[in-house]
């Protein structure tokens, strides 16, 4: 029992940033927009969060700054792809390159600075239960937020009118426009939500996970989050499974390194990336699942006639 606690905690912490970023991208893609800039938005969120928390000494302000940072550069992406109908793939790449550069520039002053600690929530009674208490009731609040967000996003997409409109816009923007829905506005909001989530995910890395700032600290997690959305077939529930899988892979890499097996650390570090490729191949073979759930307008620009 006691032996399980450490691994489970590591897995949950490692999977949280992936879950947050992927959840935002899932909503964005459900609206029909493919934003490949998750990595860039995460990096900007990470540096904004760290800088704000460091300058003010208030971790909560850091969280808000991370969200805002992600949203600001997601706004740029929205302006380009929705306002000026630029190619979404290329614009997403631009966002990543720009975001990584910008975050490194802003973060130059913060390299090596120790981060402010994020307090863990402690619920008297509940948090004291062995195993269960530590895992479920003594996490930092961002972890709870991530899990609550999964449920909220699921509820929004499948149980509310707003979610229905979101799915409609992603499925057929011509029809949605013909019925009088503001396709561009819906997509813009979805892009901003994606930016907020990616920024939050970045903030989690720099405020909770590490907690410090180093350039390129996102280390491809934004891209893995993109792969997770495909793996999840755009369903929030499956996202949890995917994120936990990657959390487990991260734990495995750490564990193997810890017990000192004869595998060079570089090969262990490759594990998440190789897992991503394997996961993509496995899910792509299930063409029916993808065909039914892929938003039909994903990646397509829309220009209404006037």
């Amino acid at each position: 029992m006691e032996g399980l606690e450490g691994p489970l905690l590591t897995i949950i912490t490692a999977s949280t940033p992936l879950l947050l970023a992927a959840l935002g991208e899932l909503v964005t893609e459900r609206s029909g927009v493919l934003n490949l800039g998750v990595e860039g938005m995460m990096a900007v969120g990470a540096v904004c969060g760290f800088a704000a928390a460091n300058l003010t000494g208030m971790p909560m302000l850091g969280v808000l700054a991370a969200i805002l940072g992600g949203m600001v550069i997601a706004f740029l992406f929205g302006l380009l792809t929705l306002g000026l109908v630029t190619n979404q793939v290329a614009s997403g790449l631009a966002l990543t390159l720009f975001g990584l550069g910008l975050s490194a520039l802003i973060g130059d002053a913060f390299v090596g600075v120790p981060g402010p600690g994020m307090p863990k929530l402690y619920i008297p009674g509940l948090s004291d239960i062995p195993l269960v208490g530590r895992i479920f009731f003594a996490q930092d609040f961002m972890t709870y937020l991530a899990w609550a967000l999964v449920i909220a996003v699921w509820y929004f997409i499948f149980r509310t009118r707003g979610g229905l409109v979101l799915r409609a816009v992603g499925d057929n923007h011509v029809s949605a426009h013909a019925l009088g829905y503001k396709v561009i506005r819906v997509r813009f909001l979805a892009v901003l939500f994606g930016g907020a989530c990616a920024g939050l995910a970045g903030g989690y890395l720099s405020l909770v996970y590490t907690p410090q700032w180093t350039p390129n600290m996102t280390a491809g997690r934004g891209w893995i989050a993109l792969a997770l959305v495909v793996f999840a077939a755009w369903l929030p529930g499956r996202l949890v499974v995917g994120a936990l899988l990657f959390g487990a892979v991260s734990y495995l890499a750490l564990y193997l390194q810890g017990i000192g097996v004869g595998i060079p650390s570089q090969f262990l570090s490759m594990l998440p990336y190789l897992t991503t490729i394997v996961v993509l191949v496995v899910i792509s073979r299930n063409r029916t699942l993808l065909r039914i759930n892929t938003p039909a307008c994903l990646g397509q620009s829309f220009v209404p006639d006037r």
């Binding site: 409109v165 029809s175 019925l179 039909a296």
Partner: protein
């Protein structure tokens, strides 16, 4: 008599205040004026036809009435009061509903979700489902609210559109080409529904270019040409020919169709027990398709969209390969396992349904689009891997002359041409090769009457010169006009072809509904 707008009383028309009146509606787009000073009125309890050719401005006008477009000038009056219809929701709030031609449905969503999206304030899903079931039963439009739209047939999709419209309790229902995708029997069912609506004092604006059905069901007609109202009339008092000449603005040229070749002419295109599994979840499997087309004849394949036409075209053209070499034979050569270019070298030619994106690359010049289908036909357009674009431009000039392709510059991009002119180019590109076998899908879909006549006459002439012509079409009038024999495709199965001279719309319609899988076949002869 047809006259200018509003000049004469029509004794059979309901009296009193019009439900909706358009006054001086004008709409400019970047380069064209789509609607020019349009005046007309719809009365309560009337089925009002809006007639006009492709490109006459009908779609623009109805989009304005439904709030999807804003007019550049003019006024709309609803029950006598001027209104601004800012968006479709405003139109629905007034009491205007719309049934779209290319359905505005969402494939991935359920029937109930699709309907909820069109309601301003939908009830909870349980209640909505119950209401859908009730209304659809009342109007004879059976629907399962839990079905996903992607799984529905074309006719069922239209039912969703209509029920969605009815649940908004509109006073005016706009229907854009509602029968273009239906079998004649389904169309008759629709007319029953329309008459019910009129009996409830609701009005219908009925957009169509099918004159016979307009004569059959409409009380009044407004005719558009080049964006202007050119007349209005009581269609029941007019002949179809007269309506047609009003629409087109000139007497249409009659097709010249000499007798077909003798039945002993050699089979030039043979499809022999062709079966193909469906390539993906939303496609149709081909089931044991057999067909012979002889030199000198036109054989048509009728059918409602989505019954395997695309899959059959791809299998005959070679874009999809068949399981056995003998499944497709061109002039006796087995080519079921060969690609599209091998078949072209056997002097076959193909024209797909989609002009832009399938038959032509939109953002490429016409000369490049010539290379598209003729790079492998050993005509010298490609020599040791290098493309001869000069030669391709000469082909463009020949096609332009032969088919009267109107274009702004000598070699514009395909997307710059109008639908009719691009279709003439895409068809002409293949005619220029003098093919022995021609397979063409929807040869006149969405093109104006002049271009349609040109293309149909060319098909007949090509056949009479000894080519085998296979036409896949959903337009029954076209099929009856040009075919020597007709077969019907339904759920991926092809009926045996019958002589076109002995068959009626209703006969084909029964086959389209799938009646040939059994006793119905005899009925069609």
């Amino acid at each position: 008599m047809a006259t200018g707008a509003g000049a004469v009383d029509f004794p059979n028309r309901p009296k009193g205040e019009p439900l909706l009146a358009a006054i001086g509606i004008t709409k400019d787009f970047a380069t064209i004026r789509a609607n020019d000073d349009i005046n007309f009125a719809i009365h309560p309890g009337e089925i009002h036809a809006l007639l006009g050719e492709n490109g006459a401005g009908k779609s623009t006008l109805v989009k304005i009435l439904y709030g999807a477009l804003q007019p550049t000038g003019g006024e709309i009056r609803w029950k006598g009061k001027p209104v601004a219809i800012a968006n479709p929701a405003a139109a629905r709030a007034l009491g205007i509903g719309m049934v779209f031609q290319h359905f505005s449905l969402f494939d991935a969503l359920t029937v109930a979700e699709n309907i909820a999206l069109a309601l301003a304030d939908p009830p909870p899903m349980n209640q909505l489902r119950a209401r859908i079931e009730k209304v659809s039963a009342e109007y004879g439009l059976p629907l399962n609210p839990r079905s996903v739209v992607a799984d529905l047939s074309v006719g069922e999709r239209q039912r969703v559109e209509i029920v969605r419209c009815l649940l908004q309790e509109p006073q005016l229902i706009i229907m854009d080409e509602p029968t273009s995708v239906l079998t004649p029997q389904e169309a008759d069912d629709l007319f029953v529904t329309l008459n019910r609506l009129v009996a409830e004092k609701k009005s219908v604006l009925y957009i169509s270019h099918r004159l016979e059905e307009v004569k059959q069901i409409c009380h009044h007609a407004t005719i558009l040409r080049h964006g202007k109202v050119v007349g209005e009339c009581d269609p029941q008092q007019e002949t179809a020919a007269r309506l047609a000449s009003l629409m087109v603005g000139a007497e249409l040229r009659q097709l010249q169709a000499p007798a077909p070749a003798s039945p002993s002419a050699p089979v030039r295109l043979a499809v022999d027990h062709l079966s193909l599994p469906r390539p993906h979840a939303f496609a149709i499997a081909l089931d044991d398709v057999c067909l012979d087309v002889r030199g000198g004849e036109i054989v048509s394949i009728a059918g409602v969209a989505g019954n395997g036409q695309d899959e059959l075209f791809d299998a005959i053209s070679g874009e999809t390969r068949a399981g056995t070499p003998g499944a497709v034979r061109i002039d006796g050569a087995e080519c079921g396992r060969r690609g599209v270019n091998t078949r072209r070298r056997l002097n076959a030619a193909f024209v797909p349904e989609e002009r832009l994106g399938h038959g032509a690359v939109p953002r490429m010049k016409l000369s490049s689009n010539v290379v598209l289908t003729r790079h492998a036909t050993r005509e010298g357009l490609v020599k040791s891997g290098v493309v001869n674009f000069t030669g391709a431009r000469e082909v463009v000039d020949r096609v332009t002359q032969l088919f009267d392709v109107r274009k702004g510059s000598p070699d514009p991009e395909a997307s710059a041409l109008s639908g009719g002119n691009l279709q003439k180019f895409v068809v002409g590109r293949e005619f220029d090769r003098k093919p022995g076998v021609l397979v063409v899908c929807q040869p006149t879909w969405g093109v104006d009457a002049g271009a349609a006549t040109t293309i149909r006459q060319a098909l007949i002439d090509l056949a009479r010169q000894g080519a085998a012509v296979l036409v896949i079409s959903q337009d029954l009038d076209e099929i009856l006009e040009i075919s020597d024999r007709v077969a019907v495709i339904s759920k991926g199965r092809l009926s045996p072809p019958v002589d076109a001279r002995g068959i009626t719309r209703e006969g084909i319609g029964l086959l389209m509904g799938g009646a040939h899988h059994g006793e119905g076949a005899a009925h069609a002869h």
